[in-house]
Amino acid sequence: MSVSGLTRASRAHPGFVAAFIHRLSGLALALFLPMHFLALGLALEAGSFAGFIDWTNQPWVKISESLLVTALAVHFAGGLRLLCIEFLGLTRAQGLWISLVLAFASGVGVLFLLRAF
């Protein structure tokens, strides 16, 4: 897919944008999740809580964990929207869903970030 392809005018509508964000967030999750698991496992296996806490206090861990949670929220909301369309036949309410997605996702992201630091 070329860059000019990305900007194809025919994609400039909420449905495609939502699907695209959904895919990117899904991809991000799929890439982050193994690291998250790995890190969790490693840190805890080392056996010491102190080590683990030290580890979670590292800024890069905080940032990436925040991103992970944000991506999860975004993807989750987008996924719900999609499931509604596919399984409940909710077509008219697309616009509403998209705004809910964004509101929810940013809400969670901001909340998390506010408290994390």
Partner: protein, 242 residues
């Protein structure tokens, strides 16, 4: 009358599979569709410009092309609605082979239509009378909602999954299959579900909704495809599809 003539800058993609844009200048008119612009160019500026149209009122679905990046029917697209800064960019529909200039080969589109079992198969009802079906019947309404497709190929061109997956049947074919499945007179409705679950069938769709967004006659293939996804899954679970 005396107002100076306004000129449209029209870039048209010329040639076959490979090609380049060529600029034309067309006088703007009050009542002018994109098809009229193309006709003007063929009649007055370049006699060899190739394009396709037939009915000129939005029923045959022959005149679709890419207008400023979006697939559209052109006989019913008023220039004023799409022109940007006095410019129009025209190209053939995406996702179909190009024959020449603005004309595409719709053969693959109709092959997919057939592959999706987009046609009626008679049931064993009596041939000499009309099946009694109430207009308020749920399936009848679903069939009616999906049936007025003019097979213009606009949705097919708008769908990214069609360009990503060669074997994807695409929104128009699947939309037709959904109308067929909702036809209670049909003699092989499971056959439709079988057709739309093999290869690049309905589950290949990612609910991008570009099809519904662009369909000139406001059909909603996304909705139809979602219906197929559900019904075929149900039929599989019930063991009706082998």
């Amino acid at each position: 009358m005396s107002a100076p003539e306004r000129i449209l800058q029209v870039d048209i993609r010329r040639g076959g599979e490979a090609g380049d844009y060529e600029r034309f200048e067309v006088p703007e008119r009050e009542n002018q569709t994109v098809l009229d612009v193309v006709t003007y160019i063929q009649r007055h500026l370049d006699a060899a410009l190739a394009y396709r149209f037939s009915c000129r009122v939005g029923v045959c679905g022959s005149c679709a092309m890419t207008v400023n990046g979006r697939p559209r029917w052109t006989c019913r697209t008023h220039v004023a609605r799409v022109v940007r800064g006095g410019k129009l960019t025209l190209a053939p529909l995406a996702n179909l082979p190009v024959i020449r200039d603005l004309v595409t080969d719709m053969t693959p589109f109709f092959e997919k239509w057939q592959a999706a079992r987009g046609r009626f198969v008679p049931g064993d009802g009596p041939r000499g009378e009309m099946a009694a079906v109430s207009p308020g019947d749920k399936q009848r309404m679903a069939a009616s909602d999906a049936i007025e497709c003019i097979n213009c190929g606009v949705c097919h061109a708008a769908c990214d999954v069609v360009s990503w997956r060669e074997d994807y049947l695409g929104p128009a074919a699947l939309n037709r299959a959904w109308a067929a499945w909702n036809d209670v007179r049909d003699g092989d409705r499971n056959g439709i579900l079988r057709a739309v679950t093999s290869g690049g069938g309905c589950h290949t769709c990612h609910t991008h909704q570009s099809c519904a967004e662009h369909c000139p006659v406001s059909l909603n293939p996304t909705f139809s495809i979602a219906g197929l996804k559900r019904e075929s899954l149900k039929a599989k679970l019930r063991g009706e599809l082998k």
